[in-house]
């Protein structure tokens, strides 16, 4: 269920690397745990962020959850559609529900992230 071409952060963010560009969202597991996402606090474009820094907040009918940066760099794009349609994260977490893109300062950050298999094992471990 988790795409093989992505890298995964322990905070349930996914990263799709295209050269130096890292497109980021939250995983299907994370959206399911959060429930209906009704509001998203988006980071500023051009902000410089480092790994594990809080870059936004997702509000669901159930709870508030901070989103952590899975890689370091500069925020170059934010998904403007989420402002009016935050439910896209629930409906299509790996597609239209992408949250932002970071220009990575060091692509080696990707090596610290899990692959799909590793992430699935990580979720299973957490549910024990």
């Amino acid at each position: 269920m988790n795409p093989d071409n992505l890298r995964y952060h322990t905070d349930h963010a996914w990263v799709r690397a295209e050269g130096k560009k890292a497109i980021i969202g939250i995983t299907d597991y994370a959206q399911g745990e959060l429930g209906d996402i009704v509001y998203i606090e988006m980071p500023e474009k051009d902000a410089i962020v480092s790994v594990n820094q809080e870059i936004g907040e997702l509000e669901s009918t159930k709870t508030t959850s901070p989103t952590l940066a899975p890689v370091s760099g500069k925020i170059i794009e934010v998904n403007g559609e989420l402002k009016d349609s935050p439910e896209l994260i629930n409906k299509d977490p790996y597609g239209k529900g992408w949250i932002l893109a970071i220009e990575m300062s060091n692509t080696k950050d990707l090596d610290q992230l899990m692959d799909a298999k590793g992430y699935e094992a990580f979720i299973k471990e957490g549910e024990k």
Partner: protein
């Protein structure tokens, strides 16, 4: 964790489960927002088996309850139900409950799951000099709420007797799929609907019968998530959030429940004093004027000072804006007044409103 008699159907339906007051309960099935809208537009069924069901009977039951609750027991007619409060000697709210008069000298109390044990102990301490019997039905029975504009039609299709004539706030016995049930025209969503009690062994049968009868009406199973957003949209208090043993009916805007003409009841003196001299704080309902969601514990400000705290908050699925309940200093509890809520460092203007937040046009 305790489980209701509907645990297996919840698993089959793919419910997301959470712990609530010591019970493993469904949070949602198809999603909180979807379930919420379904209840507003057609109908939903909720497992509310975690709620406590306590029967009190005997010649002393009426007088005992008269002391115990703030509303008038003597004036209740057989077959009627009422929302009321159990308070302590300082007028703090021990629980908000539904009381039903089943017969002369026989009452049913439906209490919050987390307060059941506490109430049983409280009743035994207050009841020393009264001739009554108490019977905790909770573990032997289940309870299902059927709520929404289509709930009447669904109940009519599922029940053996004519239920069309039963008025809100009344309770009757009927059969559903040959199972004996007690149907109370009450609820916690603001929609018309009922709450159904049956023996544990019959729970799944009744649940299935309601879902089958409701299929053509668009019925859906709903969890505690939607139950919470539905009650919040109506401005109904949740015990443990908006009311507790440190808040009084006067502070909580629940004075309408209290019958001050009764001779005596527990907490009356303090309530009268607050009524006369004013309370230290008042419950308010507010809507956000910007995007964001208020949550329990967020502080409320005005004129550069802290004036209160949020006790419940979420998004209103029908209004699509943040709504909340909280307490403020009494001078700020004015409908139409704008104050500020601190949402994790972001100060958001809110306007104080009257409940309900949502009503059908």
């Amino acid at each position: 964790m305790k489980r209701t008699c509907l645990f297996e159907p919840h698993k089959t339906l793919g419910a997301r489960l959470i712990e609530f007051s010591g019970w493993e309960m469904p949070l949602s099935y198809s999603g909180v927002t979807d379930e919420h809208r379904t209840v507003r537009e057609s109908a939903g069924v909720f497992d509310i088996g975690h709620m406590g069901r306590i029967e009190i009977s005997g010649s002393g039951s009426g007088p005992l309850l008269e002391m115990l609750i703030v509303s008038n027991v003597a004036r209740m007619s057989i077959g009627s139900a009422e929302y009321t409060l159990i308070c302590n000697h300082s007028a703090g709210i021990i629980d908000d409950i539904i009381i039903s008069k089943r017969d002369k000298d026989r009452y049913l109390l439906c209490v919050n799951a987390g307060n059941r044990e506490k109430i049983l102990i409280w009743i035994s301490s207050i009841g020393v000099n009264f001739d009554y019997k108490i019977y905790d039905l909770t573990d032997k029975t289940g309870m299902i709420a059927l709520q929404g504009p289509m709930s009447r039609s669904i109940l009519e299709a599922a029940a053996s007797r004519d239920v069309a004539s039963i008025k809100p706030w009344h309770i009757v016995e009927t059969e559903i799929d040959s199972a004996s049930t007690l149907v109370s025209m009450t609820g916690y969503t603001g929609e018309i609907g009922c709450e159904i009690i049956m023996n544990s062994a019959d729970c799944t049968r009744v649940w299935t019968a309601l879902l089958d009868a409701g299929r053509g009406f668009g019925i859906k199973p709903c969890g505690l998530g939607a139950r919470d957003t539905l009650r919040l949209e109506m401005g109904y208090s949740l015990h443990g959030n908006d009311i507790d043993e440190d808040t009084t009916p006067i502070e909580a805007g629940l004075e309408w429940v209290v019958d001050f003409s009764k001779d005596d009841f527990i907490g009356k003196a303090v309530m009268l004093e607050q009524k006369k001299n004013g309370a230290q704080r008042r419950l308010i309902f507010f809507e956000l004027l910007q995007k964001g969601i208020p949550r329990k514990g967020f502080k409320i400000f005005s004129d550069g000072k802290e004036i209160g705290v949020v006790t419940s908050g979420n998004i209103s699925p029908m209004l699509n804006k943040g709504i909340g309940i909280g307490y403020v200093l009494p001078e700020y509890a004015k409908s139409g007044l704008e104050v500020l809520v601190d949402i994790r460092g972001r100060v958001v203007p809110v306007v104080i409103v009257m409940r309900p937040f949502y009503s059908r046009k």
